[in-house]
Amino acid sequence: MPRLLNVRPRGGGRLLLGLVPILLLVLLYLGASLARHAENPADKILPTVGAMAEQVRTMGFQADAVTGEVPLLVDTVASLKRLAAGIAIAAFTTLVLGLTIGLLPVVRASLGPLVAAIAVIPPIAVLPILFIILGLGETSKIALIFVGLTPFMIRDLASAVAAIPEEQLIKAQTLGANTWVVMLRVALPQALPRLIESLRFSLGPAWVFLISAEAIAADVGLGYRIFLVRRYLAMDVILPYVAWISLLAVVMDWALVSLSRTAFPWAHPKRIRQ
């Protein structure tokens, strides 16, 4: 009998091992839901699969009688727009500041402490300030995502750039490169895969900030909707929405991984341990 440490599941076994906990969880839910509905057919806390499917149909495939729009569709579009804008601005700022702080000691000395100080402020605590200054519109929601992600990402990228071996920077200079060329051709390409990696880790917080901002002040959006229907205990809407948000998050993560693998094959040497 090999030690547990050395047992490596492969192929079908691996897949099965991954599926078991998920199936168990689903079964647990179904069992609990059935039990509650046996006691009280009008139970709203653990809705049946049928009830949720019905809500998916009305929210996701039918135009609302009043607004003439499909709620799930307009919510998704609104939320993704805010998310994309916030993440794009955060990524661009990170690239510019992270690169210069990581590569140039002068910039590190002047901006490093400031970024470190800003990074410890809890972003949600800044939300009222953003609402006051930027109003309740789109800008404050995008700004919250930006404020929440950027300091962490800048620090991460700057430390990655600072970790580029000094030998490479010296070598580049002995080949005739100036600061600008070292930044663009040595530091930037090596920073990009790390930026994508750090974006992947920031997607979770980005959703948190988006949903928080939408919950407090919005008239459309995924976060707005689930907080709206919470008033009616509409778990049959909330649960499919949460599943949909998770699916979107998984797809974004997968897209970032694929982007990194195709654009920067050198950054992904074959993994040794499965």
């Binding site: 030998e167 010296i170 070598k171 002995t174 080949l175 005739g176 490169a177 390409p189 090596q190």
Partner: protein, 250 residues
Amino acid sequence: MNVLSFRDVWVEYGDKIILEKVTLDVAEGAFVSIVGPSGAGKSTFLRLVLGQEAPSRGRIYLDGEPLCPEPGPDRGVVFQRYSVFPHMTVLKNVMFGVQCNGRKREARAEAAEMLRLVGLGDYLDVYPAALSGGMQQRLAIAQALITHPRILLLDEPFGALDPGVKLDMHELITGLWREKGLTILMVTHDIKEAFKLGTRVIAIDKRRRDPQAPHRYGSTAVYDFPLDKPNAGARRELEKLVAAEAAEAA
């Protein structure tokens, strides 16, 4: 003709003296090996030549001009590790030097030719991570030579390689040195290697020691052995002399 000259060079950090009174000249076409115990200041010596560090006292001259205290294209370097760019293919790694010096059109052909010379002609489009340690060092050498530096600095270049690979690399660097008439400064802790490759071996160590304050005395060149090995550079000098004499006679 001296490529590199040290004139009474000192390196001090506070009251800690690393190098003291280093005065020496490196002639064109020489292959100088620098040996010494670890911590004696071999690396500091190389950092001075690279321009990563400036001397606290004294002067360093490259081709008679005061040395620019920043790394520049007149000095090529191969480190023990990390001196190739992991995000560029083998070919791009070498093209980089040509492009930085503004000759974009010739870059590809020159780089491919240089890579053929170091035995990497069949690996132009792979990334360095796919190369063995020895091949990565071949790449680093090609990369350094593509800009035709006045002096090539090698910092323990073969220290991390297997013995067999090391021998191949010795052959490669000796061949390139002869053929191209290079001036090479190599820091190594391997004394055998130093004598095998060098035309001159310089040992750096402390001349005096104070057991109560070991940092009070710095290292300097304690031994300087010239060995007799003509290369293309020396041969060319000789040919020039012969031609000049012939012209005078005529």
